[in-house]
Structures are given as structure tokens and as C-alpha cells.
Symmetry: C2
Subunit: 494 residues, 2 copies
């Protein structure tokens, strides 16, 4: 039988409003389980007859019976016909749980793996959540044609029905791969076919895949310096050794690849609009990097993340389309051209890499959501994607001009803007004495997000400054934020 304290403990647990979501019999079951786990009811101890406990708790006997059945099913109690219920021998090794949680078991120091610790220390790829000026990499979504998107989504469900709830092929749905191949060929001068497209959740996932399928821990990869932090962190997480290659106004100094003292198995490039500098890789360098890849049998990882948005003529055709040797892996994403919550990015692969990459992807997370893929395929086929990109291109071009003008008007004593030909952000280099970190910190306190440039560089000294995203903010929002930022600078320069 229960002691008085035990009965009170059961009553208290059952009556605790925190447990109100549980049905009554489950609460009784948990309360008794708790007594056993805390060691208050040892092996062989009898439980009250169900009728007696029901009376004490003021519940029906069936309720207590249900609780006892579950305790029995889970192995906590044994039931002997005629002699009642007893705490089971299976509970012999109950962890000595300290009921006073405050003085609970001493926490051992957290032991992560070395790679886990390194990833943790690196801080991950923090997306700016509620976008506020000047968080980079965020598109304008407030004018997204959501009604069209919803209509196409309804069509998909109407036509595919519950078939659309099943697994997608791990390589991606065929209609979407076809639409992507058409787009890459048409708009990016690429050489894609549906068979060469691998649908992923994001360019980040593409980077993770490339890093592990093409390279082993300890292998070298050339990266741009400065470099997109998401790529750098994916490569670091995969244990790669990153060899930074400097840039000039024509992009990466690719001649250095050939003459580097340490060779590498791959090079990572953002040729359309280098992240963060905004420069475009010149044609001769594109051809030179292809030649290097052929000579070294190395891979070119081309991240074409925001090439849709080029404001002076069409964007330069991608490296992949210039490469006859099939050494280039082309990464694209819809996070910038449509919306980040879509979770669709892709790789256009050399044919021999399609199967290995697809299989490696199944190990990471299986496949991508079919409904989103089918909706996107329709959105592209119907011309809505092209129309949206064109509309956003002129919106972003205007916002870039507005930001350039505002920086010139309000911040020219403090920074020099490097107005880009495309993309969604503008680098500004500090020209005064004020430290970069001081600006970032003070701006954040005023509700302004800036991405510091120093953290993106490998070599030091480098130009200090920050990246200003402009795509997601109206001219009014940009102006308000610039005025605040100017005030921050004036305060710091006093």
C-alpha cells in the first residue's frame, strides 16, 4: 500500500495544472511511474488495490485499472492474480533520480566531437530573421505574387492528389528539373539538361554535398578572399583546408591557381557577382580557370546565387556554359530570386557526378518536398518566374541607386561605397578611424544589421567595412535607416 506521502504525491501530480493536457488515467500512470523512477517505490513493493486507490483519488476504478494496465505494459509493475500489483524487478536499475531538480545530477562538461565543437565555435550561417536594413541576401517578398503561387499549388494538389504526399525521387521531380535546365540554358548560358539537374533544399546543401563528395578531410580547396561565409563554413565543417586567393576588379586572380605552391582539388567561385565584393569574373579568367581545372582534373564549384539580378545588360554567361571539359558544378537557388522559405536550390552536374551526388543527398535528408517542387515547376513554365525576376530586377536596380545616393549624401565622410553592377548588396569600405566592430555593434543597437567585411577575409590586413543589403527595403526604409546610421557614425566620430 502507499504511504500517506506517496498518496499525496500522486494526488499532487494528478492535480497539477501543468499536466492538465493528459487524460486522467495517464496522469495517474505517470504519477506512479514518477514514484518508481524516484526510488520511492522499490522493487517488489505492492501497489494499492485499484478499488482502494480509486476511492482515495475520487476517480472510477476503470481509470485506475487503465493506469495499472499501462504500467504493466511498460514493465513497471507485475500483476499476480489474487495478490495484486507489485513494482517489477525490471525497475531494479532505476536511475537514482533526484526529486529535487534544483540539486540534480552534476552536469558533466559538454562533450561534442572535435568537428561539432568547431562548427559550434564558427557560429553557423546565421540568416537575418525579421529582415531589417541592411541585412544582406534577403529578397523583397512583400510584393511576391502569392495568389498566383497559391493558385498553382491548388492546381498541383487537384491534379496529383495524395500522390503529391509521397516521396519525391531523390534527384527531384522531372517537371522541375526540366524547367531549371531550360532556365539555366536560356538565362545563364549554361549547358544543362533535366538529367543533369539535382534538386536540393538550398545552395548551402549544395555546398555541403560538394565538400564531402568531391573532397576528403584535409584536402585543399581554393576559395576567393574575401569569401561567402556560408561556403567557407561548409568547407571548414567538412574538414577541408581552404586556400584563399586574392581578388582584383576582375575577380579572383586565377593565374595564382597555376603557380600556387599547394595545389587543390577544387576551386570555389561566385563569378557573377563575387560575394562580398560584387565584382564579375572576367572572361579571360573564366577561360583560365577552366584550363586549370582541365590540367589538374580539379573541380570548379560555381555558386551563381544572385545572378538573376544584374542591372547593366544581361549577366555574364556562367562558367559552366564555357566549360567543355565537364569540370564545373553549377549551384543555383530560388532563395534569392523567389523567397527563402521555399527551400529549393539545385546543382547542374557533370553527368558522371549525377548518381554519386544524388546518392549522397539521400544520406543527408532524403529528398525535397514534392508539392513545392511541382508548384515551382508550374510557376516557371507559366512564365511567372521570368516576370517576377524582371519586376524585381528593376525594383532592386532602383534601390541600389537610392542606397548609393543616400550613402553618398549622408555617409561620404565615413565610407566609400563600391556600387555593384548587380546583386542584392553593396559593400562599403571604412575610410576614417572608426573601427568596424564598433560600427557594427552601435548600428545593431539602433536596429540596423550590417555584415562586417573583415570576418569574410582570410588575409589581413584587409579593407574594413560592411555589406549593406538593399533588395528587401523600400527607398523610404533605406532612407530612415541611413539617417540612423549617419547618426551612429557622428556619435562614434566625436
Amino acid at each position: 500500500m502507499f504511504k500517506h506521502a506517496q498518496l499525496e504525491s500522486v494526488k499532487a501530480w494528478v492535480g497539477d495544472p501543468a499536466h492538465g493536457a493528459l487524460p486522467l488515467h495517464a496522469r495517474i500512470q505517470r504519477a506512479i511511474r514518477q514514484l518508481i523512477l524516484e526510488g520511492a517505490l522499490g522493487v517488489g513493493k505492492p501497489l494499492p488495490a485499484s478499488r482502494a486507490l480509486a476511492q482515495s483519488l475520487g476517480v472510477s476504478r476503470d481509470t485506475v485499472e487503465a493506469a495499472y494496465s499501462q504500467l504493466h505494459a511498460e514493465g513497471f509493475i507485475e500483476r499476480r492474480v489474487g495478490s495484486g500489483s507489485f513494482v517489477s524487478k525490471r525497475t531494479q536499475r532505476v536511475p537514482r533520480r533526484n526529486p529535487a531538480r534544483a540539486t540534480g545530477p552534476a552536469q558533466a562538461p559538454l562533450r561534442l566531437s572535435q568537428r561539432g565543437s568547431a562548427m559550434f565555435a564558427g557560429g553557423g550561417v546565421r540568416d537575418f530573421l525579421a529582415p531589417r536594413p541592411f541585412a544582406p541576401g534577403v529578397p523583397e517578398t512583400r510584393s511576391f505574387p502569392l495568389q498566383t503561387w497559391e493558385r498553382l499549388g491548388r492546381q498541383v494538389l487537384k491534379e496529383h492528389g495524395t500522390q503529391a504526399l509521397l516521396h519525391s525521387p531523390p534527384q527531384g521531380m522531372e517537371p522541375l528539373r526540366r524547367a531549371i535546365a531550360d532556365y539555366v540554358n536560356l538565362e545563364r548560358g549554361g549547358r544543362a539538361t533535366p538529367e543533369r539537374v539535382l534538386v536540393l533544399t538550398s545552395s548551402q546543401q549544395a555546398l555541403t554535398l560538394c565538400a564531402s563528395v568531391l573532397l576528403d578531410a584535409g584536402d585543399h580547396i581554393f576559395i576567393e578572399d574575401p569569401v561567402y561565409h556560408g561556403a567557407r563554413k561548409a568547407f571548414d565543417a567538412a574538414g577541408l583546408v581552404c586556400l584563399p586567393v586574392p581578388l582584383d576588379a576582375d575577380g579572383m586572380l586565377v593565374d595564382q591557381l597555376r603557380h600556387a605552391t599547394q595545389q587543390a582539388k577544387a576551386v570555389f567561385l561566385t563569378p557573377s557577382h563575387q560575394f562580398p565584393s560584387g565584382t564579375t569574373l572576367a572572361l579571360d579568367r573564366r577561360l583560365a580557370v577552366i584550363e586549370w581545372a582541365r590540367e589538374q582534373q580539379a573541380w570548379i564549384i560555381e555558386d551563381d546565387y544572385d545572378s538573376e539580378f544584374h542591372y547593366a545588360g544581361k549577366p555574364t554567361a556562367c562558367v559552366q556554359g564555357l566549360d567543355p571539359y565537364e569540370r564545373t558544378l553549377y549551384i543555383g537557388t530560388f532563395s534569392k530570386s523567389l523567397f527563402p522559405g521555399l527551400r529549393i536550390g539545385y546543382l547542374v552536374l557533370p553527368p558522371p557526378l549525377v548518381a554519386p551526388m544524388t546518392i549522397a543527398r539521400t544520406l543527408l535528408d532524403g529528398h525535397s518536398a514534392p508539392i513545392a517542387q511541382l508548384t515551382l515547376a508550374r510557376f516557371m513554365e507559366g512564365g511567372h518566374f521570368g516576370a517576377h525576376v524582371r519586376a524585381m530586377r528593376s525594383v532592386y536596380a532602383e534601390r541600389r541607386d537610392v542606397l548609393a545616393r543616400l550613402v553618398h549624401e549622408h555617409l561620404s565622410d565615413f565610407v566609400e561605397a563600391r556600387v555593384p553592377h548587380g546583386g542584392m548588396q553593396m559593400p562599403c569600405v571604412l575610410i576614417g578611424e572608426i573601427a568596424e566592430q564598433a560600427v557594427l555593434d552601435a548600428a545593431r543597437r539602433e536596429g540596423i544589421d550590417l555584415l562586417g567585411l573583415t570576418g569574410l577575409h582570410a588575409a589581413t590586413p584587409c579593407e574594413a567595412g560592411f555589406l549593406m543589403g538593399y533588395a528587401a527595403y523600400t527607398p523610404e526604409e533605406l532612407e530612415i535607416a541611413i539617417r540612423k546610421l549617419a547618426a551612429v557614425f557622428r556619435r562614434l566620430s566625436r
Copy 2:
């Protein structure tokens, strides 16, 4: 000026129906680019005056001008006022592209990384695509309440608008984390809070994360033998050394952990319904594995993948809820309980692991789609999830019974069924002379998918046989397939 052959080549390219999707000026630009890339137009070679080329092609001069502008913007040509356009010096390093693609550059043998090759050789986690009997792990989706789901999705978009298009917090949306915590506490006897839940795309992603954040390449992990292949492959891909531990009717022989000659930093368990055997880990062993984890400061990775479907009373409470030492990581998924195309799974984590795991997840693929998360949160809050699981539980229980009866009636000369208490698949052990692979191959030719048991075992010899999924197939579909399978067996046994 162009030679005749060059002009013909441009005309052919422009007129090729395969390029019909490109606007006219883009076709002309690409055709000339092609000539340059093929080396037919070397550095310094003049291009025809735009007026002359326009006339030859029968297009407007503006069209040719647009093509030339783009060639110029991309660096292919130089334009000198008064003297026309010339192939640019930047094309000096044009790869020697062989225009006859059939005799193209000799393909070097494919060089993947060692880990990439190993993943490729392992074959990945192949989901059965168009589910057909007896593909395991697939839920019944034909009766999914799609209209309710769509209605809730519309509500989400109506209330959140384009906000729902932005990034999700990498840990997951708060309403979903709350709904998951409530569910794990209520239905699985867990100890969850919204702060401890990490929303992912799948249990596969959870396994990948655990493998890399908790363990380094070369570290040991105890696994069940036989084991879920998706887990084994994720651990192999992360470079872990898997130490198989045998099972009996009460699940893993956890006493062997303590006395193993090689210790491990973690153990992987499917305690509710062991995959593939279907056994439930007994309470005393649950407590023993917790004690082992405390002593060794090791981690318990608890994959509770289909615990919703238990047909005799409620499923046993999860290990996580019994562990006062916070050594257990609980993995759940909605791929089985709702539908695979949803792409939502989760981890319930010890508090110190929340930040490291969330950060590591940002490196893998950023975050999960917000609209799906918010829709699922509503589906759970509104009681639809519970109702669907209850409905499916009785459907699957019936199908299990039907399959057990059918196997008994038609296959008892060949296999012994191990009827499980829960889950979505039933293991059958071969009792005759017929080889497992022969059965799998012959069945596949008849349109029947079976997952072989031998491939899931580490130790040999092991019981040969196969796993039969039953959840996604009606009794009629099961019967048709069983009759076919019986015919396969009769043919093989002749």
C-alpha cells in the same frame, strides 16, 4: 568578316529549333560565342559590321547590335569606334573545344573523394518511389485529410501573408516546437519543452547531425544488429566505426555495452519497434542503457520513427522520458505518421546540445520551410494529427492482421512470420532452402518490393528473410501481392 562557312554556322545555330526558346538576338550572340569557343574565330579576328550581318541573316540591325552588346559585355569582343568589332584578347585561352562532340575530350576516370566513393558504393537510402507491396516504411496517404490540410495552409497564408515566405528561425517555428513538445510529452512519455525541440527535414537529417556533432571520424558507436540501414549509412558516411550489438526478444542486449572490449561514445536505438525485428526494448534494458550512458558520459540516440502505431495498448514510453541525466537525443518524424513529402522531422535535445545542433544544422541546409511548419502546427493544435494517427492505427492494425493471415495461408511452407506489436512492417524469416536474394529478385520482377534482412545484419550467419511493409496497402492489394509472391515461391522451390 565571316567566311562563308562561319556565316552558315551562325545561320544553322540561329535556325535550330532546339534553340527556339531563346530570343533572336540571344541566338545570334550564342552562335558567335560558339564560333569563338570552338576556335573558329581567333583573337583579333574582325566581326562583320552589324548592318552587313543583319542583312545576311535577314534580321534588323538592332537585333545584331543587341547580340554584339552582350558579346562585348561578356568580354568576347572588343569594339573600336570607326573600325568595328574584333574577337577580344580575353578569349586567348579558349579551351580547345572539339566541335564534334562525339569525339570530345577523353573522359578522365571519375575522381570522387574517398568518403564520396564510399557513400556512392553504399547505394544511399533508396526510398521506394511509387509504393507497391511490400515496400516498407510507407504510410497510407490515400485517405489523408488533404482538404483539411489545404484549408489550414490557406489560413496560415492569410494570417502570415508574405511573412511566411521568409527564413524560418533555424531551430524551427515556435508554434510547431510547442506542438511537438506537447505531443512528445503526452503521447510518448517524454520530457520535452519547446526550447529543446529542433525542427528538421527528416529523421535522416537528425541522424546525420548526431553523427557529426557528437562523434568524430573514427569514433565508435554501438548499433543494433540488425539495424536500420538509413542510420548505418549516415554513420558510415560520417566516418564512424559501428559496433553491432545483438538482439533478443527484449531488444538490444544492452548488458554487452558495459562489458564490450571497445567502448563507444554513443548508442543508436529504435526502442519502440526495433527496425527490422519489431521487438520492443524492455524496461530493465532501457534503464540499463541509461545507466551505461551516465557512467560513460555517452549519448543515447533514440529513433522513435513509427512509435505512433502500436496495436496493443499504448506504446511504451520513450527512453528520453526515463533518462534523468540528459544523455538521450530523441528523434521523431512526420514522414510515417503523416506523409513523406512533408519533410518535417525533429530532435528533442538535452539543453546543452540545442545551440550546437542548431548551428550545425544551419551549415547543412539553413532551415525548414515555414509554411509547412505553420500548417503542421495548426494541424496538431486542432486535433487533426491525433485523429489521423488514431484512424491510421486501426487501419494498420487490420492490415497487419490481414497480412499475417495471408502469409500463414499462402506462404507457411516457405517463411515464418514474426508478427509485430506495432509499426508498419512485418519481418518474415525464410525456412526453406531458397536463397534470400533469389526471392527478392524474382519478386521484384513480379512488381513486388521486399527489403532483404541479410543486408541489415552485421554479423553472419544471420536469419535470411525479408521485411514486408503493409501500412500503405489495402487488404485487397495485400492479397493480390501475396498470391503473386506465393507463385514466385512455388516456382523457385521446384
